[in-house]
């Protein structure tokens, strides 16, 4: 019989307001095996923890039940507490009477009753708990960063600086991401390329960093410290080690009508291309969708002109497999498609552009060489209307747009407005907004400068309709402060489109078994206390894949993710989770059902000798679990037809005891 101590926490008034904690302690004290039960205001405080340790020693407790918050919150805390007092940490059970009771029930009598029942279930389980010893596993001292934008670059640089090798996997031909497309950056207005490209070069030249551009993560196996990742290196039809990036092929390529994605399709590029001058790696890539040679086998001009002999039309996708200790997700964002927002005539007029397109129109390396010209007739626009919150902060019941605030639009719109007025003082600039949200260091001052010094017309209200007519864009909008309808004949309209996670994020999350929210942003392990870790051990988050953020925040998060990775990689061994599957070999008939359902490939089979009748020996095929690979998901325990498979710490008997205690 166990000697069990029960500790009921008030969590201040969080639990105590809707649960009679004294009554819970009194009721649980009468349960079989319970030798002590008490309640205390904050069980997780030092005093609370000291009390638990004292009682373990004083009463010789062999099991502990804590009635408190969710085990996700403090199970690890209380396990450590008990371990320090000499108790095996797996002899501790948590009854969640906060999230599952006090926070969801209003009636104190109901809450108290449910808390007692959950406590009873935990006690019934502890009765059957056995001490478990966690195994150890080694750590592969190499990190993988998925995504080569500013988030991925910064994370990789920081990990590499600590002395660990890093691979950056980037789906595009070059690293750089969205920041490479930007002109100036708020609030200091320094040129994006000037601050980004040195970092790109650093990443390219760092001995600890390997850039796998034009590549994608194909498959992820393993677990924290020991991931095995298969990476697809897409055929770029150019030998990376031979290409010098001279650009002669681009001059010779006859297929010059390929929409240039780097310039948001505002101009064209050739079929063989280097996305932009500062690309890293500076290696050409052939776009197979447009290359005449690859499509019809007729051309070969780039191959004939390449002095380095780097062109290889026969190149195939290649796969490489690599082991990593940690994985950082930095897949970034994209502006949403504006197809569903045709009240702004985006698909009808080339002069209605998205903010990222406007960014390219302002950029010296952009399609207009940095002179702001209307895409339709390449004339200088004299009246520009900016519309904020296009697809952001939409009603949940609306068929289009996102519910969240995209966070960066207020600032970049202020930047666009200010830069336009700075370069072209003869241009009238209007900004329509729902709210102007500019918290952040030097942000509000920046916005006010746009209004006060640059005389940008900020109007609270939304644009209802944009009608292209006679070379103008007739903008109909409401001014909510003045309570009137306004009509503006504009030359250009710029839409601040909401941002959303990159489309590759969802399938990647599945491969990583990392969780996402309804908007496809990666979920952090704790929204406040573990913001750069995914709930999946060994997977870390960097940049906008986790939520909308600007460059300073992205870089800060990238550094934080790197420090978490370094903290993991410096360890020589990781303590595993002992709650893994274990087969009862005497009951196992080697049917392979468990092997088929195991998502981690942790189960293999062995032929083992068993004692048969009359002193004979039988060789039987039985299941074996690799405890380092098993994640304790329990799928095999359900699949096993003979009931031979059990999860340590969550055995069938323990679960049934809990159910019985609840149903008593």
């Amino acid at each position: 019989m166990q000697r069990i101590g029960v500790f009921v926490c008030w969590c201040g008034s969080n639990i105590a307001a809707t649960v009679d904690v004294q009554a819970v302690a009194d009721a649980l004290a009468k349960e079989p095996g319970v030798v002590f039960a008490t309640n205390y205001q904050y069980m997780c405080s030092q005093t609370g923890q000291d009390m638990i340790q004292e009682k373990i020693k004083e009463l010789g407790l062999t099991g502990v039940v804590i009635c408190s918050c969710s085990p996700r919150m403090h199970e690890a805390t209380f396990r450590r507490t008990c371990e320090k007092a000499g108790l095996n940490p797996y002899m501790v059970e948590i009854a969640n009477i906060r999230e599952q009771v006090s926070w969801v029930h209003k009636d104190k009598a109901v809450g108290t009753e449910k808390a007692i029942i959950l406590g009873r279930a935990a006690i019934a389980k502890v009765q059957l708990n056995t001490p478990l010893i966690a195994g150890e596993s080694p750590v592969t001292k190499r990190a993988l960063v998925i995504g080569g934008g500013i988030a991925g670059i910064q994370t990789a640089l920081d990990i590499a600086d600590a002395g660990f090798p890093v691979d950056i996997v980037e789906t595009k031909p070059t690293i750089g991401g969205k920041m490479a497309q930007l002109d100036k950056t708020f609030p200091t207005l320094d040129c994006a390329a000037c601050i980004l490209t040195p970092k790109m070069v650093d990443a390219g030249q760092n001995d600890n960093i390997r850039i796998l551009s034009y590549s994608e993560v194909e498959e992820v196996k393993g677990f924290v410290g020991n991931f095995e990742v298969k990476i697809r290196r897409k055929a770029r039809y150019v030998k990376e080690d031979l290409c010098t990036g001279c650009g002669l092929c681009m001059e010779k390529c006859p297929q010059k009508k390929v929409p240039n994605e780097f310039n948001m399709g505002l101009d064209n590029r050739t079929a063989i291309y280097i996305p932009f001058a500062q690309a890293v790696p500076k290696v050409a890539t052939i776009d197979a969708n447009y290359c005449l040679m690859l499509k019809n086998g007729k051309c070969g001009l780039c191959s004939r002109n390449c002095t380095a002999g780097a062109i290889d039309y026969k190149q195939q996708d290649e796969f490489i497999e690599e082991k990593y200790g940690a994985i950082v997700v930095a897949t970034g964002f994209n502006p949403i498609s504006l197809d569903k927002f045709d009240e702004f005539a985006y698909s009808k007029s080339p002069d209605v552009v998205s903010s990222l397109e406007f960014e390219r129109l302002m950029n010296a390396a952009g399609p207009t060489g940095g002179t702001l010209l209307r895409p339709s007739d390449r004339t200088h626009p004299h009246t520009i209307v900016f519309v904020q919150c296009v697809g952001s902060r939409c009603d949940a019941s609306a068929e289009k747009g996102k519910e969240y605030c995209s966070k960066i639009c207020c600032m970049y719109t202020a930047k666009h407005a200010m830069l336009t007025r700075e370069k072209y003082p003869d241009t009238e600039v209007y900004v329509f907004y729902i709210d102007v949200r500019t918290p952040g260091k030097s942000f509000d001052e920046f916005y006010r400068r746009a209004v006060e010094q640059y005389n940008v017309h900020y109007i609270k209200g939304m644009v209802g309709k944009v009608v292209p007519e006679g070379g103008k864009l007739k903008v109909q909008a409401s001014d909510l402060l003045d309570n009137r309808q306004i009509h503006i004949d504009a030359d250009m309209v710029v839409l601040a489109a909401a941002i959303e996670p990159d489309k590759s994020a969802r399938p990647l999350a599945t491969k990583l078994t990392a969780s996402m929210d309804t908007n496809d942003f990666f979920t952090e392990a704790h929204p406040k206390l573990r913001p750069v870790e995914s709930p999946t051990a060994g997977v870390f988050l960097s940049g906008t894949c986790q939520g909308p953020k600007d460059i300073p925040e992205t870089v800060a998060q990238a550094g934080a993710a790197a420090s978490k990775v370094i903290g993991l990689l410096v360890k020589d061994k990781l303590i595993g989770n002992p709650c893994v599957a274990k087969p009862n070999e005497l009951m196992c008939n080697g049917c392979s059902s468990c092997e088929k359902v195991c998502p981690y490939g942790a189960i293999t089979y062995e032929d083992k000798p068993f004692r048969g009748p009359n002193r004979t020996t039988l060789i039987r095929r039985v299941a074996c679990v690799n405890p380092a690979v098993c994640q304790g998901c329990g799928a095999c325990t359900v699949a096993c037809p003979s009931g031979a498979m059990d999860l340590q710490g969550f055995s069938n008997r323990q679960i049934m005891a809990e159910v019985d205690a609840i149903c008593k």
Partner: protein
């Protein structure tokens, strides 16, 4: 193809063209439009007030009778379609309204409870989804070649998009596709899905005039020679309240012309 048909009262008075050509064209396309017996005025938009129950009965009766006849209900007037489609949506999704309406119906002899489980489509949807614009194109004997036509949707036909479910309310294509099917050339203009102000023309004529002029000017400046519509209210307003009216006809008239039955 057989459908129950709800003409509505404007089509029996002011907008006879819309109705007459619609029926002729349907016949030419091999479609039987069976007029509902004893249909009543839909109440034109006012039934959509959230606290109105009695005024919804006429639409419910029309839907219920179409269900009894076993044929999808086809409407032609934008306003009638707007009302009947939205009442149908309420009957399916709003428990409160459904129960109250059925309590009313329960007091009437021979009326059966209705749960919002029948289909009502607009004539244009019938052309697009049941006939098919390609099929229609094949049946055109008199293609309206070279005619530059602006589609005028107005406000009732498309919005609210979630309930009407006909087309994208901000970027509709159904009328343009129709224009292409009858051999003419659609002209895009931005004001095509804006309200013409028809509903306030009695109350505030100046405002209605302003709206209409904005629409006709935009259409003309974009190159439209004529406008087509499915709404009697818009038809009236565009003709009577514009400073320089642009020729506006019902889409069924052009359909009949293209099919050689005008």
């Amino acid at each position: 193809m057989k459908f129950s048909y709800y003409p509505g009262c404007t089509l029996s008075a002011k907008a006879k063209d819309l109705d007459e050509y619609g029926r002729k064209a349907a016949e030419a396309l091999g479609i039987t439009l069976e007029e509902l017996p004893e249909w009543q005025c839909c109440g034109a938009v006012y039934p959509n007030a959230t606290d109105e129950i009695a005024t919804r009965l006429s639409s419910v009766r029309a839907l219920s009778n179409a269900k009894k006849a076993g044929m999808p209900l086809v409407t032609l007037c934008s306003a009638c379609h707007h009302v009947i489609k939205r009442v149908n949506h309420d009957m399916l999704n709003n428990v409160d309204i459904r129960e109250k309406v059925n309590t009313y119906l329960g007091t009437m002899e021979g009326a059966e409870p209705y749960e919002g489980d029948w289909q009502v489509i607009h004539y244009l949807e019938m052309l697009r989804d049941c006939v098919g614009f390609d099929e229609l194109k094949a049946k055109v004997v008199n293609p309206l070649k070279g005619k530059k036509i602006g589609a005028y949707y107005g406000c009732l036909l498309l919005r609210p998009g979630k309930e009407m479910q006909m087309d994208d309310p901000e970027n509709p294509t159904i009328l343009e596709d129709f224009i292409r099917a009858i051999g003419a050339e659609p002209v895009y203009y931005g004001m095509r899905n804006e309200c013409c102000g028809g509903y306030i023309t009695v109350e505030d004529k100046a405002q209605a005039k302003k709206r209409v002029n904005a629409i006709t000017d935009n259409a003309r400046n974009s190159g439209a020679e004529m406008l087509i519509t499915a709404c009697p209210l818009c038809h009236y307003n565009l003709q009577k309240n514009a400073d320089e009216p642009i020729q506006t006809v019902y889409f069924t008239e052009l359909l009949a012309e293209a099919l050689g039955v005008k």
